[in-house]
Amino acid sequence: AQSVSQHNHHVILSEAASLELGCNYSYGGTVNLFWYVQYPGQHLQLLLKYFSGDPLVKGIKGFEAEFIKSKFSFNLRKPSVQWSDTAEYFCAVNRGRLGKLIFGQGTELSVKP
């Protein structure tokens, strides 16, 4: 079945550690890729997105993600996490003109001060 998979359900890091959250999708053809974040008690919001061009995209708060087409992956990275990055992170895929945004199951990130 076509899907979006996030490898880690819960990640616990200390402040200043590096972060990489995995995301794989199984759709063929052209896709648009997103990372959304949900801070505790807040609404889902866009962190970054990839439509085309440079496969390394930069988002807000120092996050970046790399699209590797051959691996059907769009992993999220941050060189040094902060306590305020504690949140749930969702990878999502949109198959362009079909318009439906498909989310992964989410990864909960806990950053210890």
């Binding site: 359900h9 609404h43 889902l44 997105k49 949109n94 318009g99």
Partner: protein, 117 residues
């Protein structure tokens, strides 16, 4: 600019009771979505509206769920009767864009958390 507004934020009901959720999208956003988010899962699309028209309701359980967006602005999602398995967060989102070119950002509300006892 006001964001997507949803109400109620929390609702506790007994099974077999009806429940309704309301959503007011960002002004000018013609596309409105209702998503279901179960605990530990990502959001799943229930229905998408382009103005007043439901253009994708394939995942909406039509035996008990209904939705409307009569004037192309705010929307209501109803469950009747509710079942235990309906306990979840119901998210509303909106975006700009036409029916077949939605490659942009979705703006989400804070969600309505439903508990069915």
């Amino acid at each position: 600019e006001a964001g997507v507004v949803q109400s109620p934020r929390y609702k506790i009901i007994e099974k077999k009771q009806p429940v309704a959720f309301w959503c007011n999208p960002i002004s000018g956003h013609n596309t409105l979505y209702w998503y279901l988010q179960n605990l530990g899962q990502g959001p799943e699309l229930l229905i998408r509206y382009e103005n007043e028209e439901a253009v994708d309701d394939s995942q909406l359980p039509k035996d008990r769920f209904s939705a409307e967006r009569l004037k192309g602005v705010d929307s209501t999602l109803k469950i009747q009767p509710a079942e235990l398995g309906d306990s979840a967060v119901y998210l509303c989102a909106s975006s700009l864009g036409d029916s077949y070119a939605n490659t942009g950002e979705l703006f989400f509300g804070e969600g309505s958390r439903l508990t069915v006892l």
